[in-house]
Symmetry: C2
Subunit: 526 residues, 2 copies
């Protein structure tokens, strides 16, 4: 028995104690080619004991490539599970988001068939059977199992509900290595249309569900005790760039309050993944706004600072995605300070357009790059190489009251400290269109694009967001493109298709996007 209670105390449905197994005993259930559904979301609340035992089994028996699975999980999970599975060639299909050097390598070399999708759609579509008619085995990490076989999640809700809808067999990992999260969740499995009910959430802390997901006990084939903690990573400290970005956003919020377009306590905040998002939340902790609320997908470490500042009244998310150190220990040690202000929801609710629009979230996310017309690339570096995936960025950027993307204006390459501009003439891959974004920000400045036609939008972005090293280059392209297309009467949104990716081609060839000129000689060889 651990300091957080025994397995027996956590499994309140006593008949299930007959099904207790070790992780190793579960290995025999798994066959090559199976569809698996896991709990978990952006390393929080994922099963660890059984996936690690399976990886050990494959490694020990040289089964690499001979035990491959299709993995359906709410979002990314810890590197000790999916990234290690990738190394051992244990993954065929993977939906809808991932993180890790080795899994990314597998995807970009064509061994792993990853697909990404707006997370709110992924959740519901999984339940509808659009990805696979059934899940062979579900592996769900829980805090507890209730008397009536309700599964009480741990640090995330993910797509547990939808997995249970279509799962044949279920393995439960009861995590006794940390406190129980019972009472923090608002569990609900939406009905399938035409029988879906409204999600009657009118503020971040409204609850419309129950504290556990109902599970058919006959489907449960094993109950495994686990003491593994979530392996979330800590973020880099705020640097000058992210601090400047946070500053521009605070200024903008202040101006919107003055103009009467935002209430004094703003509107529920959504803040994406990564270090800039983390910095913006840090900026709010030091800023002038009080009685804030958060309606988001993941709560990262700086959210604890925002709670500590006394400025945050309530937070709703799909997962508590804190770092292994110092995030979770800090959270567990101050449980009473945070717990009753947090609601953890299933992905199909945390990211649903319905509450996001009704509440009027302020959406803030980091892209790989955006272009002068405000199309943004969130997923594919260089237009073809997958990083993590789309995540919920589109759910919030389409449905928020204000839709903001923030990025450094430049990034270094090996040979040029300004080798990459994150504001380009044309994004080589597009995840969010010009129709979705209201505001784009770099450390250079903030461009408010609301109500601007494409050419006005482009000039504003060049003026406010582009790094001085790239300003003349991009301005020259824009002027040239306007001149050529307007003369032909085809210039609503000018681009030159012989040159729009010249910067990207030069990066590949010469290591920098700082091109010397816009000349190009093309022979179509026709």
């Amino acid at each position: 028995m651990s300091e957080f209670g025994s397995l027996e105390s956590r499994v309140r449905r006593k008949a299930l104690l007959d099904k207790v197994k070790s992780p190793e005993e579960c290995v025999e259930f798994f066959k090559d080619g199976m569809d698996l559904g896991w709990s978990g979301f952006t390393p929080a609340g994922y099963p660890k004991a059984v996936p690690i035992a399976l990886a050990d089994h494959v490694e020990k028996n040289n089964l690499q490539g001979k035990m491959k699975f299709n993995l359906f999980i709410g979002a990314s999970v810890g590197a000790e599970t999916e990234d290690r599975w990738a190394t051992l060639d244990m993954i065929d299909r993977r939906w809808p988001y991932q993180t890790g050097k080795n899994i990314a390598k597998g995807i970009n070399e064509g061994r792993i068939r990853m697909g990404d999708k707006h997370l709110s759609l992924f959740a519901q579509d999984l339940g509808y059977g659009f990805y696979t008619p059934k899940i062979d085995i579900a592996i769900i990490e829980v805090s507890a199992i209730t008397e009536d076989c309700g599964l009480v999640p741990t640090s995330s809700c993910g797509v547990i509900g939808e997995i249970l809808m279509i799962a044949d067999k279920v393995i439960i990992e009861v995590n006794t290595g940390q406190p129980s999260f019972e009472g923090m969740h608002d569990c609900l499995i939406p009905q399938t249309p035409p029988n879906r009910q409204p999600f009657l959430i009118s503020s971040s802390n409204d609850r419309i569900g129950t504290s556990a997901f109902p599970c058919d006990p006959d489907k449960i084939i094993a109950v495994v005790e686990s003491k593994h903690r979530d392996k979330g990573r800590a973020f880099a400290d705020m640097d000058a760039t992210s601090e400047a970005i946070a500053g521009h956003i605070m200024q903008f919020f202040g101006d919107e309050v003055k103009a009467g377009r935002l209430p004094e306590n703003l509107l529920p905040l959504q803040s994406g993944v990564g270090s800039i998002a983390n910095a913006v939340v840090g900026g709010l902790a030091q800023g002038p706004f009080k009685n804030l609320t958060v309606f988001t997908e993941v709560l990262q470490d700086t959210m604890l600072d925002l709670f500590d500042s006394g400025k945050l009244d309530a937070a709703s998310a799909c997962s508590l995605s804190l770092s292994e150190e110092p995030g979770f220990p800090r959270f567990f040690e101050n449980w009473d300070k945070y717990a009753d202000k947090i609601v953890l929801r299933p992905l199909s609710i945390s990211n649903a357009p319905e509450p996001i629009r009704r509440l009027g979230c302020i959406a803030m996310n980091t892209p790989v790059e955006f272009d002068m017309y405000a199309h943004a690339n969130s997923t594919l570096v260089g237009g073809t190489r997958m990083i993590n995936g789309l995540g919920g960025s589109g759910d919030f950027l389409r449905n928020g009251y204000l839709k903001i993307m923030h990025s450094p204006s430049v990034r270094p390459t090996k040979t040029d400290p300004y080798g990459i501009t994150c504001v380009v003439p044309k994004a080589p891959h597009i995840d969010h269109t010009e129709h979705d974004l209201d505001v784009v920000v770099t450390e250079q400045g903030l461009a408010d694009l609301r109500g601007l036609a494409p050419k006005d939008r482009a000039q504003t972005i060049i003026d406010k967001c582009v790094h001085p090293e790239y300003k003349p280059i991009i301005q020259e392209y824009f002027d040239m493109a306007k001149k050529e297309t307007l003369a032909k009467g085809i210039g609503h949104e000018p681009q030159l298709f012989d040159r729009c990716f010249k910067m990207q081609q030069n990066l590949a060839q010469n290591g920098t996007m700082r091109i010397k000129n816009w000349d190009i000689n093309i022979d179509l060889c026709e």
Copy 2:
């Protein structure tokens, strides 16, 4: 007095009869540079008398370019108004959709600053003051004015509510040239967050509002009688292409019902603008499905056939966008057959993600083109020339239960009957991303993309949708792109940025996208 009742009988708020003016008397209210808001949506329910009088005034007095306005209207309006205004250089900014040769010319030559946006967002953002803090003059076509100064719309609801929220002055056109539409509308002006209420619509014919939009009588500066009818265009008859597309879709629906993923009466249908959309609805009128419902943006002529077939139980839309001949006369003559099965809603509700997801709409729209990864271009021919605008395609394609786009596989150019392929390696402009579409269809076949990773998706689209003339060309590109990028470990979604637009460049240069080979010689001139 017309056969449809007198002005006096329609204006039930009697004090307003003191404000009756002729269209010509209203001209003096308008000053260069004003922000105007009109009722109307895809030529239905727009003001005609006053806009025509203003155009006459400008023409007669040679004021071209000296009386320019910013026009905010739910969608496109009749050519005799906005297209004529464009000819007379009377438009500066225009949001968010338009139709007409002259207005498109003005936009693509850079004289008119058009912007498009998902229509559901346009509606709410207009009310929030994101486009202009105030509307100088609103011009609203109505069927009647109630005793308490409620405005009863005509054939569309558009953004009347949001316009009234921010309008300084209001001119009313009372249309006595057609029957009153009173009782058909479900009017509601959503509150601004954080005070927004749920939209409690659980089936197409649910009503949550009232029969008129409340208007402050002190804002009304004129009441004008109008007898002009809406000038909707009739559609081309079904041809072999659209018939084949409709056939593939009927087959797909049948298969989904068999698989248990759709109920026997399907789910509420959304069908876009244009002749293919029209044909698909025609296909349903002849098909096996009964007790259908429609939850859409515009009801076009074939919707009357669907009603007549006895297979359609209820239809919800923002506008009744029938043709001037034969659509509207047929509708008016059979009023009792149709009227109580139709609900006309404001754009902010007809296109809101909340009811679209809850009901689980089947979304079907025509793009300009889509690419092998299922990114779609709905707006910019050749990537830069605006046709109509995004419309509500994104509202439905993001939020539907099934998201379908249909297009002919090829279109002719002047010199080549197969000169344009509507399935391309890479779309030169993107309005809907790969994360939004489930199914793409051409007359060649239907590609079900659900659950497919990008490379599997591309192969399926090439196999099912590409025209035989283009199949080898696009297959060769895909194979080449896979080989090159996978070898470099950057091949999640292969593209070759030196060649991805070669077909488009060849079209511009040589009048066809049927290129002879994928060779290209590029000198970056660095």
